[in-house]
Amino acid sequence: MYNTRVRGILIKGNKSFSDVSRDIIKPMDDKTPMWWWVTAFLATGALFWGVWGFYNTISTGIGTWGLNNNVAWGWAIINFVWWIGIGHAGTAFSIFLLIVRQKWRTSINRAAEAMTIFAVMAAGLFPLIHMGRIWDGFFIFPYWNTRGPVWDNFNSPLFWDVVAISTYFMASFVFWYMGMIPDFATIRERTTSAIKKKIYGALSFGWIGNAKGWLRFETAAILLGGMAAPLVVSVHSIVSMDFSVSVVPGWHTTIFPPYFVVGAIFSGFGMVLTLMIVMRKLYKFKDYVTDGHLDAITRILTFMSLIMGTAYLTELFMAWYSGSEYELFTFMKNRVTGDYKFAYWTMLICNGMIPQLFWFKAVRKNITIVFIISLFINLGMWFERYVIVVTSLSKDFLPATWATYEPTITEIAVYSGTIGLFVLGVLMFFRFVPTIAISEVKGVLKETSTLKSFTDEN
């Protein structure tokens, strides 16, 4: 039994089932608001700039980037890892919070999963374009080879990446889509427009909400969820192995797989927080995404931030403890101090320290500050990847080859293009899909949202 006296009301405003459907579907029936058009316009602009960056890269080559012999992985890989990290939140919400039975996830998981899909799409572009010869992109898939004895290098973590990420994308997409089927059916039943009825009718696969349907739906959700949980972990572990199977100081360290996974979920939750604050403001969803929901996310972020801070300290301590001069140089002379100290300290402060402000209730209750901190987390996690990718490559074992790295306008364009893609995707999601899982909210509504007195419970 859910004790609302202690746990608080989950969905505010004493909603009935039909209130829930109406509230959540309302933004889809309303006229498209002005902010939507303005944001879509800006995002399209960014996307076009990105297309220019793509064109530039493909028609001329990787030479248009700021890479050099040493720093062969620049912004493209930083952004790839950053986006993949953000793409972890959705499934983390759906699965991990399910395991620890957090009912509040129902108001948020739909949007978080949508974010996952678009973030992974944005991420996937980078390795593809990084090949230079994008038309040979199909080489990375392990298909029956018709070009003679040329196979993928199965020993390469880059290849593992392809497998892990494409699997993850498919699983998250199916999981997300399946969750929407009952909601699509709800829209189909409610809408007055004949076209909408057709489209959402097709999307809902003829869902009629019978008992057998629900039974199978829930079994499938549990099965898919169970399979997606290890996938979440595997994806970023394998991304970390792109770095850690090497012998490069600062890359080769055994803590990398869990450290990357925690970082990914941390950045994903940061982005969820950013998005949720925007969404509940624009769509007036304060009854569904309550202050309590945001409070819960900030608590998780505090915990994650502590793990991140501990991981940073562990790395520093071990660099010293190892007694290896290369490790010591990389961490003490090329990260904590040296050319990249700005990036290093930005990372440390944004990820390890600023989120610690969430220990204070006053900070957690002030949504403006929470929003700003969530932006700092997004920034800090970008810098973490910058620190990892660039510092270790720029100064490795051979001082004669040391080089510095600056991104070119093309790289910046490609990055902004992926942001445009992500924002456009989210906008489409806002417009055409119920942003909160109607059926799931209804599932927890009765139990969690009326204030029972103490005497009822004891």
């Binding site: 395991i99 080769h252 055994t254 803590i255 869990p258 915990f303 502590l306 403890y321």
Partner: protein
Amino acid sequence: MDNKLQIGSKFKMAMFALIAVGVITVIAGFLTGEATRTWANLLLNNYYFLAVALGATFWLAIQAITQSGWSAAFVRVPQAMGNYLIVSFFLFLILFLGIHNLYHWTHHDAVLQDAILLHKAPYLNLPFFAIRYVIFFALWIFLTQRIKKLSLKEDQLGGTVFFEKIEFTSKVYIFVLAISFSLFSIDWLMSLDAHWYSTIYAVKKFVMAFYHGTAIVLAIIIILNKLGQFPMLNKTHLGDFSRWLFVLSMIWGYMWLSQYLLIWYANIPEETVYYVPRIMGEYKNYFYSELIINWLFPFLFLMWNRVGKNANALLFVIFVLIVGQWVELYMSIMPNTIESHSITYVEIGTFLGFAGVFALVIAWSLTKAPLVPRNHPYLQESIEDGH
């Protein structure tokens, strides 16, 4: 619901017998010239039961910060396990007598001739080592006792004030434990081979503690249930516990893989040196059984839904895990101390002795408070779980 546990005299006698076996084994070990082996076993078992107690209290703290309702009826068990920390503090003290047998870096003259040990000396030196040991134990004991006291006060006064205080203390405890137990594992286990290092080593030991600590919590609950306590225990609770074990088995396997795969792949001699005696030599069988027992078996077995809801099947899994943790620590400690492998009466007797102390302390602690907390805000939620 308020019945306190009574310890039977048979149980007491049996535990005292186990302790006697342990003491005799240790004395015999020293007398028969097996000093290093005996010290290594004392370290193994000290660490073993400390990890179980810390893991259980960590599990308790996680329940508090995630506001888990289903487990509210069972919090007294991990709270009682926290009491072992006090005993553990004194049992660890014994090890200081044998510190030179175990840790190469405690030999002053050896350090002077070794550039790497000299570099590490500001951290790895006996006074600082002892200071850390005292600080860590003090923090653990203070915080776990505080959580327990708050919970007992809640029994008397009710309300949600104590509940909130427990949550806050749990957050602090988790933070403290993350850093302190990591350093503790580096101090007492990783520094057995002071040249070698791995950043995930302490994390893996942390997960081991969490994993096996949770298993022992469940074991105690099931056993007490068979003795007529915890009448509310049902299949949903068992299912929840088994899900914890299942997830932790995966995390444990993941930590194992992270360390092994990366060291194997990079193949740097400074790092592979750790695995060479463990894979190539006499320890080979233990190396693979560690992985099979702690990950593969629970992973496959607990995947079966019926197992997760069957108390006897779960007891069997926990029994295997008890062996598993021993094998893991055996693999961590022995190749760096006694080098050649053999299991003698010292291994078995010392373990039994420590198990006796542990069981006695837990049983005694369980009698000190009502087994089911009276005013936990989620108690009703926990009891009605699954109905």
